[in-house]
Symmetry: C2
Subunit: 315 residues, 2 copies
């Protein structure tokens, strides 16, 4: 099955590039309410996986406050507050930055990157350092080894894998290595959307704790000027988490959920689809998020086009 074009890249009125992909909206009961493309084929959820991984950490016995739990679900900007948060978690677990398996990186946030340019890359600035610090904290608290915590066969990763299978109601057949070095589980977009719906509709337990922590601390999950942070600040009760290679998932407080994957992995195609889906669901995504989408196609520094959701996607 060839997935449909979801987004067109228009420059000076001419369609220059296109992004194909698949998108599913599930109802609060988990049934498919809308779909485009192949939503049953397994995909790597990349960082949209993080809230599910965090549920696994809590199930394994992690004790953590809400703000750090949100950072543990984050693909953060590497702003000073994010880096300090990861280092503080490590310090309380009796560990240092060297314990992180994620690779050294510059902050994603340009002003933060420019400020530390001369100091160079570091592990704590990598966007996944909060997740890795939370994984290490879990191991330190439970008494598991911390040196191979990111190995697929480590007991923490086994619990996380079982949690992901439980929350998605799917069998995990493919385990890969994520960009940060942690195990990465392939499952369908339907499974991803359903799992987000389960988090927000849980009456309590680790599922609801993760959903509430992320929604209470949206800056920890991404940062200044980022899609997830802006959308969660604007839309009451929204749980939203993007991932690399063009993945995104969100859930509304009633359990209606979305998951999408851009075939080619383009990050730029996600936001226009998130805005269009929210509007389709009767929700105003707000001016700040719409502004983020505005400067996508520039010529001489000025907007000369747009990323346009395919006509008729939502009928």
């Amino acid at each position: 099955m060839t997935n449909p074009v979801l987004v067109e890249v228009v420059r000076s009125g001419f369609v220059e590039s296109v992004h194909r992909g698949a998108l599913v909206i599930t109802a609060p009961d988990g049934s498919v309410r809308f779909s485009a493309g192949d939503i049953e084929r397994p995909v790597y959820p990349r960082s949209s996986n993080k809230p599910l991984q965090a549920v696994g950490m809590l199930r394994a016995g992690l004790t953590i406050d809400d703000e750090e739990l949100a950072l543990g679900c984050g693909s953060h900007n590497g702003e000073p507050g994010h880096v300090e948060g990861a280092l503080a978690m490590l310090s309380r677990a009796g560990l240092t930055e060297d314990a992180l398996a994620c690779p050294p990186a510059f902050p994603l946030h340009e002003p933060s990157m420019l400020a530390v340019a001369s100091a160079g890359k570091r592990r704590a600035a990598m966007n996944c350092s909060g997740k890795h610090a939370a994984m290490l904290t879990t191991c330190a608290q439970v008494g598991w080894p911390t040196d191979d915590y990111a190995a697929e066969i480590h007991p923490l990763q086994k619990i996380i894998q079982a949690t992901v299978a439980d929350l998605t109601s799917e069998t995990i057949e493919t385990v890969g290595v994520d960009g940060c070095g942690a195990p990465l589980f392939a499952f369908s977009l339907t499974g991803l959307a359903r799992s987000f719906g389960r988090l927000v509709t849980a009456m309590g337990g680790p599922e609801r704790r993760v959903a509430d922590a992320v929604r209470a601390h949206p800056w920890q999950v991404a940062g200044t000027g980022r899609e997830d942070t802006v959308l969660m600040r604007t839309i009451d009760g929204l749980l939203s988490k993007g991932g690399a290679e063009g993945v995104h998932a969100f859930a509304l407080p009633d359990g209606t959920a979305l998951a999408l994957k851009i075939d080619d992995g383009a990050a730029r195609a996600r936001l226009p689809l998130l805005l269009a889906t929210l509007r389709h669901l009767g929700i105003d995504p707000g001016d700040e998020a719409a502004d983020l989408a505005r400067d996508a196609v520039l010529g001489g520094g000025k907007p000369v086009g747009e990323l346009k959701v395919a006509a008729g996607l939502f009928g």
Copy 2:
């Protein structure tokens, strides 16, 4: 027509993303020797256009040495030598950096960017500043206004458009605005490949001068660690020029030429296709270029996959 998958992004043995597109190889006589996908639909050639634009500048009367002509065809790294080259051209034309219509930018080359991080973005560091400096030099030498040199109706741009139509043997029906603010002409991949073939097989004139200048100064055209520079240094007589949104073109000294466009605009999909095409044509692209392609899929900072050209693309 749906273009075929040209490149698969494989992570831990699993196809995570795919890049569709079109690719044409033309023979020295301009006939189509190989094709995949729709090679007749117009595309924006982006910076693969630059050698053709430079021929237009020479036809308009530009006097310039070979090294600066190569910089004028370049999408340079913003390394100190590139920035100095653009500024020197401007200075000789009696102009300053403010005359450039291309937007301020940081150097593409990471070490150069980090070195100037505190000084901020500048127009001369933008990858197209050489082309803009060459356009301004043309105007200053010929006696045309320099303040609106990037407008579609400026006499320089009219000559460039006529040159592009001539070299591609196509009618230009769409004129857009490129990322740098200069006019951008849409034509087919077949036209792009043929025009590169014409440059290298010309017995003299502006066409051959551009081809020879670029091949003699491959560092000016891109820079340290960049595909075009590495390939042209390795392969005798190769003329190669990439562009934004997944475009690339090259010509071998006998006039055999390639043009490709990735549907989704991904830059990463180009190099594997260039390497595979060169090998298909019996040319060893060399270890340095193969090394550039090697670290495309990382996990925890280590290679965990690859960008794989679709099986059977070349039969």
